[in-house]
Point group: C2
Chain length 237, copies 2
């Protein structure tokens, strides 16, 4: 029986900040912990969306690729989907308005939850990055090299997680959202959208399962005290 | 089969900072997740040590009391013990020297682990607090009201956890240690010790299971952005 209140987080957002991009968990192992989620690939190789048990990569060219179980990740969040409908969108919605409306609906600023918006977007903007080569740059340097993609009248799913600010560093405090089009024509890390329709649903995750990559020597030896984790997450995520 | 790499954390250290001291989990439920650990009781009612599956409270008078399963906690850390010996103490050891030696032995500053020191302490100093009444004071105010206890030639166990600084706030970044005497004559939150003998052992916990008290309305409604979490943990813990 799967636990539907459980957020499984592999790695920490913090490890990406100084450029610890090595993939240390296979997707086949990650998917034991959830059928839905987001992440990035070995070498910061694109933005991942896991939907209905199938992992997709939006690569630096903007192409959406189905991934196999041997693909590895340095960081990912997954859970087993059991969303409850929150509301139908009936007027123009942007990411800021969505976050404001969702946060105003319940007292859930101190728990993790997943959010999903399926709809047709008048406009949607995403980003992704090419796979990086060693020596890896920092996360902020990569953010400066990101590629942006713009869609119009695209139907798809915005999904991701809200994490309490207390967990900023291990996770992204606040919302961390990705997008994937139903027809796989585009996707990526969500930057902006505008939509007049769609359904918003959510799933409370009161239980965080945080797995650290303790077999990765580079991670274990790294001195995070020199990294501006919160600053980098604010700039890059 | 129990997982011996798993640290189960109920609540967060942060929730104690503004005085959210209500016990929201029974010990009988906590003990499903570990036979060893530390915590505090409903109303910040003493310092807890869970040893070989038995929960003990060191109350504000310094008395060590065996607890029953209905006793509730706002915050606790537990795991299933499977310690590996690190070293025998052969010269005078203090908490600072212990932490320095342990951190120098392995690259484990970025993972959770438990540490245990069983020995006879020439001197040992602990603290605890009386159960607080509503409206609850802050954690820092309680720290100013703590009672200190001094022992000489006491045999017992110093035990607790190391958490990466990245998790300061949800946990105590660095070491968080409690003490309990073998003969239950004293115990509490560890402040200081001196010993020339004893055995130090440790257990790596690369997996954090963080359970949030989402059914506690007071926790869910609280605005932690106004609390100086790191400052209070530094002062009170």
């Amino acid at each position: 029986m799967v636990k539907t209140n459980n957020l499984y987080q592999y790695g920490t957002l913090a490890l990406l900040v100084p450029g610890l991009f090595k993939g240390t968990l296979k997707l086949s192992d990650l998917l034991k912990h959830g059928d839905t989620g987001i992440g990035t690939g070995d070498g910061l190789d694109g933005e991942l969306v896991i939907k209905d048990g199938t992992p997709y990569q939006i690569d630096g060219h903007g192409s959406v690729n189905k991934l196999d179980g041997n693909f590895t990740v340095p960081f990912a969040d997954v859970h087993f989907a059991d969303y409850k409908k929150l509301f139908d969108i009936e007027s123009t919605m942007t990411p800021d308005k969505l976050e404001e409306k969702v946060m105003g609906m319940k007292d859930w600023q101190n728990t993790f939850f997943s959010i999903k918006l399926h709809g047709t977007f008048d406009k949607i903007k995403t980003r992704s990055v090419y796979k990086q080569e060693k020596p890896y740059p920092t996360l902020v340097d990569c953010a400066h090299k990101q590629h942006e993609f713009n869609g119009e009248n695209v139907t798809g799913t915005v999904m991701g997680y809200y994490s309490p600010q207390l967990f900023n560093g291990s996770a992204v405090g606040g919302f961390h959202l990705h997008f994937i089009a139903d027809d796989l024509s585009m996707g990526g890390h969500l930057l902006d959208f505008s939509t007049n329709n769609g359904e918003v649903s959510a799933q409370v995750l009161d239980h965080l399962e945080q797995q650290l990559p303790v077999n990765d020597e580079e991670f274990m030896k790294h001195d995070f005290s020199k990294d501006d984790i919160a600053g980098a997450i604010g700039e890059a995520e």
